[in-house]
Each structure stands twice: as C-alpha cells, then as structure tokens.
C-alpha cells in the first residue's frame, strides 16, 4: 500500500461521495458546496497522476470560476429555498440508465491494457508550455476565439432586447 494507493483511494472516495451528494441533495446550497469539494478532489486526482500544472489550473479555473459562476446563478435566481428540486416522475429509469452506462464503461476500462508502460515522471511546466506554443498552437488560438464567441453569445442572450 504505497503512498499513491492510499491517496488515490482517498481522492476517489471523496470525489464519488461529493458527486453523489451534489446530484441528490435537496437543498441547492448543499449540492453546490458538495460540487466544490468534488472539484477539489478531482484536482487532487490530477496531482496523483503527475499533472501538477493541470491540478492547480483546475483549482484556479473551476473552483475559482465555474463554482463562483454557479453560486452567482443560485443567488440571482432565488432558487435557494428547499423547494423540491429533484424527482422527475420516474427517477428509477434514470437510475437504470446510469447503472447501464457505468457497467459498460467499467467493463471497457477493465479490459483495456495500455500498450506502453505508464511513465510516472511529472510533466514540468516548461514542457507543457513548449507543447502549448509548439504543436498545439492551433488549439491555443482557437481557444481565444471560443472565449470571444462565448462572451458575445452570453451577452446577446442576457441583454434586454432593445427591439421588442
């Protein structure tokens, strides 16, 4: 039971528990808090896998950005109360679909044998920078475009329509 194993089980247990609470909790505030814990656990899982910069980037963008955005949504839409936010008419079918999905994914995962051995040395930040500005330059520029497009789209949706 090396350090990696214990840390992995810790991160896995916390992330699954937090995801379940985030998905099933009645009170919206509790599920958003559980979502925050889930994101932190996923950042720890990234660190276990040696992706240090990605783990910190996850905390910076997801915990600092997306979770804050969702909390803004909760604050602005008065949906804080304990009114029923769960239970479509037939949650059982959703459970069945989820179980089938989980079953197939786990079966495929168990059957997969990676061709090359797993390298455990961490990827240094400058290596990541080289990859980002070198071979992945197209993606780098496209992300800028996507950011611009999403700002224009979001503001168009939210702005009061002058026309009407």
């Amino acid at each position: 039971m090396g350090a990696g194993d214990i840390l992995f089980f810790l991160a896995a247990a916390v992330s699954i528990a937090a995801a379940v609470v985030a998905v099933t909790d009645e009170r919206l505030l509790h599920s958003v808090l559980a979502f925050g814990v889930f994101l932190f656990a996923i950042a720890c899982a990234f660190l276990i896998m040696g992706a240090e910069f990605v783990a910190v980037a996850q905390i910076f963008v997801y915990v600092g950005g997306v979770a804050v955005l969702i909390l803004f949504g909760v604050m602005l839409t008065a949906s804080r109360g304990a009114q029923r936010t769960v239970e479509t008419e037939h949650p059982m079918w959703a459970m069945v679909c989820a179980l089938v999905l989980a079953g197939t994914l786990i079966a495929v995962a168990a059957a997969y044998r990676p061709a090359t051995a797993v390298q455990s040395r961490a990827v240094d930040v400058s290596l990541l920078g080289n990859a980002l500005l070198g071979p992945q330059l197209v993606g780098f520029e496209l992300i800028g475009l996507i950011l611009l497009a999403s700002v224009i789209a979001a503001l168009a949706v939210v702005r009061r329509e002058p026309g009407r």
């Binding site: 090396g2 350090a3 214990i6 009170r27 505030l29 509790h30 808090l33 925050g36 240090e52 910069f53 910190v56 980037a57 905390i59 910076f60 915990v63 600092g64 950005g65 979770a67 804050v68 909390l71 803004f72 909760v74 604050m75 804080r80 961490a122 240094d124 930040v125 400058s126």
Partner: protein, 317 residues
C-alpha cells in the same frame, strides 16, 4: 508517507501560529498607526502602549456568545468561516521566507498562490447566501463581485514576474532576484499588485461591502462572537500572506546585504503592510461604481499593456 504527513502538519501548525501572531500584530498596528496618523494615541490602557490590546480582544471574543439565528442554513453558516480562513493558511505554504525556511516549493507555486483565494470568494458567497437576511445577501453579492473583478488584474500583474523569471516556482523566482529586484524591472506590475491586493483584501479605499455607512455589516451581518472573528482573522492572515508574497516575489525577500535573510524578509513584508495601512488612512473611500468599473476599464488594460511591454523588452534585451 507518514513522515511527509507529519512534516506538513508541523509546518501547517507552525504557520498557523505565525498567522495568528501576525493577525494580532496587524490589528494592533492598524489601530496604533491609525491613531498616530490622526494625532491621537490609539489603545494605551492595556499594557505599555496598549501592547496587550489584541490579546484582550481575543480573550473577549472567546467568551462572547456566538449565535446561529433561526431561519439560517446551518451547514452553510458553519462552513463559511472555516472556508474563509483555510485559503489564507494554504497560501502561506508556497511563500519562500528565507533560505532554510521554505515549506514546499511547488512547480506551479505562483499559480497555486493565486488560485487558493478563490475558495475565500466561495466562502463570502456562502456566508451571504446562507444567512437568510437581505443585507448579508446584498453584501455577499457585492463583495464577491468586487473580489472576482480584482482577481484578474492581480494575476496578470504577477504574470509579468513569471515571464521575467521564466518559471512558476517561487523559489526560482527568488533566486533570479539576487542582483536586481523584479519590482525594479516591472514597476507597473508591482504597483498593480499593491493596488489589486488592497482591493482583494476589502481594505479602504475599496472596502465598500462592509463600509459602515453602506450595508450594515455586509455578508457577515448575522455572525457574532468567535465565528465573526474568523472572518476578521481570515482578512488579516490574508493580508500577511499577500504582503509576504509581494515581498518574496517583487522585492526579493531574504536577499539583502549585512542582515540575515529572515530579518530582511520581515522588514520588507512589514514595509508593504505599513504602506497599505498608510494608504488606508489617507485615501478616501471610492463609490461602488468607481470600484467596480476601475478594475475592468483601467487595471486590466494597464496589466495587459504591461505584459506586452515586458514580453517585447525581454525578447530584444
């Protein structure tokens, strides 16, 4: 594994004590500096020159009743102060105090230091949201909006240092500063860092959400006793962490002639702290719309320009 866990807990508890002492010293300094600037003496009665004033406050707070009002969301209400204080302590982990005292040198240390206060923003919103009170909700929204709009120029100002140093690890940045400090190479970056840190810590002239005249008590209206104290403790611990980081990254904390590194580090940190206190008692408080638009219309463009200039100069120098 157990050994590293033990060392990390020892480091964490040690830094918790350092943070608690710096909170006490910070509150004491705040009141003395404010007093002397306004030609009065500040606390004098408890001990010589009121040294024990903050100690007395802490003891009082320990004995004060802290109340959880009725219609409040208990989990959010209890969790919020803990979430507010935890990032202050976690960010102390990556600051290189002096040669031997470096808790942990992360590869992406600078980004970690800028990422962790985001948990503080969540704590502010959860506090506002979970205390069922109009004022704290409004206060929570406003201070969250202020915190997030000043996080961006703050990260961009530190980015210029990363560009110059060529690495994200705080220890490497420190080593690159032995000859010339980064505050000298990117003066705009340093000035931006100081301004945005004042805004990030909700200190005057940016302390709209808790301004007495504005919103009663801001997001921590419903809190009382020790629970309220943790929001104050989080603010002052964050104050110490931000000044220590500024000293280490911009002013080459620890590098200096004659005196040992730890003394140089303390001098530079408290120089920044005193400067921010000086600003607090001289600059009048800004209006809410000035605060909000300043960051987007002025600070972010200036930060981006500063980055562009640094990148170009670095390329051709």
């Amino acid at each position: 594994m157990m050994v590293t866990l033990a060392t990390s807990v020892v480091w964490a508890v040690g830094l918790f004590v350092v943070a608690a002492l710096s909170v006490m010293l910070g509150v004491y300094l705040e009141r003395k500096v404010a007093g002397h600037m306004q030609a009065r003496l500040g606390p004098m009665r408890t001990g010589p020159h009121g040294i024990a004033q903050t100690l007395a406050d802490t003891v009082k707070l320990l004995f004060k009743e802290d109340l959880i009002p009725g219609k409040v969301d208990r989990l959010g209400f209890i969790v919020a102060p803990l979430l507010a204080f935890a990032p202050a302590l976690m960010s102390l982990m990556v600051i290189p105090y002096a040669r031997p005292f470096v808790p942990r040198d992360l590869n992406a240390g600078v980004l970690y230091f800028l990422a962790v206060p985001a948990i503080g923003v969540i704590a502010v919103m959860v506090a506002g949201l979970s205390s069922a009170n109009n004022y704290s909700l409004l206060g929570g929204l406003r201070s969250a909006a202020q915190l997030i709009s000043y996080e961006i120029p703050r990260s961009l100002s530190v980015l210029s240092v990363v560009m110059l140093a060529g690495s994200l690890s705080t220890v490497t940045i420190l080593e690159r500063q032995t000859h010339v400090w980064f505050a000298v190479l990117t003066p705009i970056g340093f000035a931006l860092y100081i301004i945005t840190t004042i805004a990030e810590l909700n200190r005057t002239p940016f302390d709209l959400p808790e301004a007495e005249a504005e919103l009663v008590g801001g997001y921590h209206t419903e809190y009382s006793g020790l629970r309220w104290a943790f929001f104050m403790m989080a603010e002052y611990a964050g104050f110490f962490a931000a000044s220590a980081f500024g000293a280490a990254v911009f002013l080459g904390g620890g590098n200096g002639p004659l005196l040992p590194p730890i003394v140089w580090f303390v001098i530079k940190t408290y120089a920044i702290i005193l400067f921010m206190m000086w600003v607090k008692w001289t600059v009048p408080r800004f209006r809410i719309d000035q605060v909000m638009t300043l960051s987007r219309k002025v600070l972010i463009p200036v930060a981006l320009l500063n980055l562009a200039v640094t990148a170009v100069v670095m390329q051709y120098v």
